[in-house]
Symmetry: C2
Subunit: 114 residues, 2 copies
DNA sequence: GTATATTACCTATAGCCAATAGGTAGTCAA
DNA sequence: TTGACTACCTATTGGCTATAGGTAATATAC
């Protein structure tokens, strides 16, 4: 088996999925496409990443699922719960803090050594 | 045992360590402090993260180690190799791409759904 | 008619990063 | 001599994510 590429980041898939669902209800396959398109292929989450994540978030009460039949196909539409909104806010805050931290280290790494 | 916090990101510790060592040679304990200070506590990597990372990077030829005795204490000073510089460039590029991808999704998640 | 591509869902396995929790040893101040 | 700080280290655990599959329906092409 080929050695898998290293994961580039943790927590971000969850952040992105929650953010998309904060805008409107979506189904898994749609989320996979939206992340790929909206990030211009910078972030590509396979279905094997998104579906288990959705199930985990659902199990934690972060979102609600509703199955619907559209054009002969079953779709599971997800929607953010209040808990999911809270979680999203936390992740956005953490992302911002980390991003700033990385930025300051990349730009001026000597600041920490004074 | 307390449930450990989830990792907030992968590849970033490596990025930060390489970036610091690109500026000047440093030793492990100093790196731990520099990351904490320069990021204003946004990113705190314990010694148990940094030391194994340094050893792994050393084993991969990303950096060179030189032991030195300073004020009665042993310090292992690390320096970036050419390979390490290359790796740093790659990680900086990837960080930029991912950061932009996350940014566009956070700001305008509907772009991907047209 | 039957391949192929696309949509849409799913699970199992494996790898690796990082977080925790320890440990050793030297220096210095109270 | 106790505590605080410096400076190094390892073992274990856990969780995220990547891969690699699988099912089934629709639409298109040949």
């Amino acid at each position: 088996m080929k050695k898998p590429n290293p994961p580039f980041m943790t927590g971000v898939p969850e952040l992105l999925v929650l953010r998309l669902l904060a805008e409107r209800e979506m189904y898994g396959y749609e989320i996979v496409r939206a992340i790929r398109l909206s990030s211009r292929d910078a972030i590509v989450l396979a279905e094997g990443v998104v579906y288990p994540l959705l199930h985990a978030l659902d199990a934690k009460g972060m979102l609600t699922a509703k199955e619907r039949k559209v054009e002969g196909r079953n779709r599971v539409y997800y929607r953010l719960s209040a808990k999911g909104h809270k979680r999203l806010d936390d992740l956005i805050g953490e992302w911002g803090r980390v991003q700033e931290g990385v930025h300051s280290l990349l730009e001026d790494p000597s600041r920490g050594s004074i």
